[in-house]
């Protein structure tokens, strides 16, 4: 599926924890469909949104489907910019080690495997946000 005209910057802002509400899962579904449109996509994980990327999610006890493996395929879909806010991690006692290891293969660099998660400051997220054409909040 191709779109005509200039490429737009799309940012998906995730601020909510997974499972307590459906926003995390359904926002991921938008990202996957949106990947086919070849826009300049980034995901921002702020506030409780950082919890979405936590590793070791085991959902059998709550009877819900564990959708965290989907984050692993984002790289294959060309979604390589996952910005995780450091202040949000710090406030929750989390580090990068608590998050899933998400990678993509850089086709411009001999398919070298690189991390998709970029831990950045609130200031950097702020600067990224203001440059977007479309910001989707869930």
């Amino acid at each position: 599926m191709e779109s005509e005209g200039a490429i737009k910057k799309f940012m998906y802002v995730n601020r909510k924890a997974p499972y307590g509400t459906i926003y995390a899962l359904e926002s991921l579904e938008v990202v996957l469909i949106g990947a086919a449109f070849d826009q300049d996509v980034s995901l921002a994980f702020i506030d409780d949104g950082v919890y979405q990327l936590a590793k070791g999610q085991e959902t059998k006890g709550i009877g819900m489907k564990n959708f965290s493996p989907i984050y692993n395929v984002l790289g294959d879909y060309g979604i390589t910019k996952l910005y995780v806010e450091k202040e949000s991690l710090d406030a929750r006692g989390l580090t990068l080690d608590d998050l899933q290891e998400l990678v993509y293969e850089d086709e411009d660099d001999d398919w070298e495997e690189k991390p998709s998660i970029r831990v950045v400051s609130a200031e950097e997220i702020r600067d990224l946000m203001v440059e977007q054409d479309v910001v989707l909040s869930f």
Partner: protein, 130 residues
């Protein structure tokens, strides 16, 4: 300008739908075009024709239908979110073996691509949610 709106919550439960309607009306009054309103998450519940709100209160689903017809606005309900929540058109009902459909006049069910397309084609996309 060409505008798109996303509604993430159902009617009455949150103010999102009301705010979105007021915004859309104001945008049209200002001479802008509202190309599409995309309903996601519980927002798909704006599109059921079986709502019977109190007579002395606004009928949000009907308001959407009227404004869409009057100003040629595309009201799109996300198929995946709709399936989860039981908003079906005749085709969907048949496909899933359900004994009826409930989609309201003026709405159509389609994919998330319609949301992305609206973001690409419009000048601004405004999200109303919780």
């Amino acid at each position: 300008m060409k505008l798109a709106v996303m509604v993430n919550e159902g009617p009455y439960q949150h103010q999102s739908a009301d705010s979105a309607i007021a915004f859309v009306k104001a945008a049209i009054e200002k001479g802008h075009e509202v190309m599409r309103v995309f309903f996601y998450h519980d927002g798909v519940n704006n599109g059921t024709r079986y709502g019977v709100p109190p007579q002395d209160d606004r009928n949000i689903t009907v308001q959407w239908g009227e404004i869409a017809e009057k100003h040629n606005i595309d009201l799109v309900i996300c198929v995946a979110a709709a399936q989860r929540r039981g908003i079906l058109d005749a085709d969907e009902a048949k496909r899933h073996g359900k004994d009826g459909d409930n989609i309201a006049p003026g709405f159509r069910i389609s994919g998330l691509g319609q949301l992305i397309e609206a973001g690409i084609q419009c000048d601004r996309l405004v999200v109303f949610g919780d």
